[in-house]
């Protein structure tokens, strides 16, 4: 009789959601080949698959698998939910987007699913190896998605810039990891924390250098100044739906590893990385908001706004406490909703042949399309941080966390720069409501895009009026570890 207990299948339980997602991605490729004209259901299959995986993720036990390489704690679950929400909303608006852009379906949805697998792995990485593999799986899929539109010259340029910058950052990250491995003898993040806190390693300049290299690479990945310069070009050149995706999923996943490595891996070095990141956050907010002031292209403006919001989100990480991290997590969720909403309006206004990405195209939108203008108004208010929208609540908790940790200057900077940001966000609102329409833009509410707008509105208003639920969830995610 063959002993069947050699492979213990229960060991695979923590990565079942990821495995299911890989299967869905493969099924989507095969169906794309054979479905012919019935390809319209592929986005819905993607959405359905992601919802199923999200259910599985939410029901997961707090566990550590494969010798501590995969952690399925509530911290990971929260980030996984943000990333999957990003995929779901992007898939929903992609159908409409593809039709107006004339983009071939091809491997679009499967690449999106594979990048989601990468993000899930990043969120639950307990080891530098898994962290790197997840990061690359996500990044490589996104490079392809950015350059997907072969007829569009800007797409190719954006993909190339993204790939070069991403590859450079990964190499820097790896060099930092190799030094950490050399000094501690392990790649397990929890063990690194144990070893680096003990005695002589605490003041080792080589370990500080390695940590600095890793921080530089993370800053590249989440677009923190002065490593943000690829962001505006890539965000502008990428297909709009992918821009929306990049600003939510990969960014959240980047913050997941940022927080995991700094707070679980190097808590003893908070005195060193805290002030450094506080200065970088201040710089990021300044550069993002001030450069956004002079943009005439709304997609590029939202790209600089994404840089600024990365600076805001960093405030929670620098505080180095569970409270701060939960504020960052809540802010990333809120940012996901409001940014997806704003990009959905951009996609809604685009028509074949003319993308309508200039600010002038928004003139008089309130007269021709009051509903779209009202939704854009709500999303812009939320991005500015005006109550009672969710953007305000998110910023409030971030400021509270940073103040609690003693970073008063950074908080003052946040307040100043958010009031500067009101100028360019509300300029869109002014154009929509106080100017006369220039040309008639035809708007066609399809099922997918309406669902995205509904979800985003629900998120922005719901989290704004009932903030306790999400903050509580995020906080308990950390305390329950």
């Amino acid at each position: 009789m063959i002993n069947s207990a050699i492979v213990s299948w229960t060991a695979f339980e923590p990565i079942l959601p990821e495995m299911l997602l890989v299967c869905i991605g493969l099924v989507v490729i095969v169906l794309d080949l054979f479905a012919g004209k019935h390809r319209e259901f592929l986005p819905w299959l993607t959405v359905l698959g992601c919802i199923t995986v999200m259910g599985m993720v939410a029901g997961q036990q707090n566990a550590s698998a494969f010798g501590g390489m995969i952690l399925t704690d509530s911290y990971a679950v929260f980030f996984k939910v943000i990333c999957l929400l990003g995929v779901i909303m992007t898939a929903l608006m992609s159908e409409h987007f593809r039709r107006t852009e004339g983009l071939l379906q091809g491997e679009y949805y499967s690449l999106m699913i594979f990048s989601a697998v990468g993000m899930l792995l990043m969120a639950s990485a307990g080891d530098l190896m898994v962290l790197y593999l997840g990061l690359e799986l996500m990044a490589l899929s996104v490079y392809c998605l950015v350059g997907m539109h072969k007829g569009d010259e800007r797409g190719g340029e954006a993909a190339m810039k993204y790939l070069l910058m991403g590859g450079f950052a990964s190499a820097i990250l790896l060099y930092g990891m190799s030094l950490v491995y050399g000094l501690t003898g392990t790649t397990n993040i929890a063990k690194i924390a144990e070893l680096s806190g003990s005695g002589q390693l605490l003041h080792n300049p080589a370990l500080l250098g390695a940590l600095a290299l890793m921080i530089v690479a993370f800053c590249f990945k989440v677009a923190i100044a002065p490593f943000h310069f690829w962001t505006p070009d890539v965000y502008e050149g990428a297909p709009t739906a992918i821009t929306a995706f990049m600003s939510v999923g990969p960014k959240a996943a980047g913050f997941a590893i940022f927080g995991r490595v700094l707070i679980s891996g190097f808590p003893q070095f908070h005195d060193q990385w805290g002030p450094l990141l506080a200065a970088l956050a201040l710089l990021t907010m300044g550069i993002g908001n001030i450069t956004a002031l002079c943009q005439q292209n709304i997609k590029r403006m939202l790209a600089y706004s994404a840089v600024a919001h990365a600076g805001y989100s960093l405030l929670g990480v620098i505080s180095g406490t569970a409270d701060g991290l939960s504020a960052t997590m809540a802010y990333l969720l809120i940012y996901g909703f409001m940014n997806m909403g704003a990009f959905a309006i951009l996609i809604l206004l685009a028509s074949p042949g003319n993308r309508h990405e200039s600010l002038d195209d928004y003139k008089g939108l309130a007269k021709t399309h009051p509903l779209a203008a009202l939704l854009m108004l709500i999303f812009m208010f939320s991005l500015t941080g005006i109550p009672p929208t969710a953007g305000f609540v998110g910023k409030f908790y971030l400021m509270k966390a940073a103040l609690g940790a003693g970073y008063t200057m950074t908080v003052i900077g946040l307040v100043l720069f958010s009031s500067i940001s009101a100028y360019f966000y509300l300029r869109v609102v002014r154009y929509m409501y106080m100017s006369d329409p220039q040309e008639e833009i035809e708007i066609n509410y399809t099922a997918g895009i309406s669902t995205v707008l509904g979800l985003a509105l629900l998120g922005v208003v719901g989290l704004g009026l009932l903030p306790g639920s999400v903050i509580g969830q995020a906080a308990s995610a950390l305390l329950g570890q």
Partner: protein
């Protein structure tokens, strides 16, 4: 026996050459090669450390890095070809439609 510090110095020099190449070269293919050089410096570091620390993790990590680098090169060259088809150049200074 060759001491560990020699390997690590070689890796550091290779890495520095890669960084300088990436920052100064303006041909996309050369920039790719510089990234590969940086990755190989990391591989050398990992393998040497793995041997001296007597732990397998470094070697396993190296296998993963090599695999991912191959995938990255495939995607990068694919993107370079699409870019060349539309612009007839692989020089980053001439690929400058997006700016501001």
């Amino acid at each position: 026996m060759i001491p560990l510090s020699w390997y690590m110095s070689l890796a550091a020099i290779l890495f520095a050459i890669g960084v300088c190449g990436f920052l100064t070269r303006r041909n996309i293919i050369m920039m790719f090669l510089s990234i590969e050089l940086m990755l190989n410096a990391v591989n050398l570091n990992m393998v040497a450390l793995s041997h001296y620390l007597d732990s397998m993790r470094g070697q396993v990590f190296t296998f993963f890095i090599i695999t991912v680098a191959a995938a990255e090169a495939a995607i990068g060259l694919g993107i370079a070809i699409t870019l060349y088809r539309s612009r007839h150049t692989v020089h980053v200074d001439e690929v400058n439609e997006l700016k501001g």
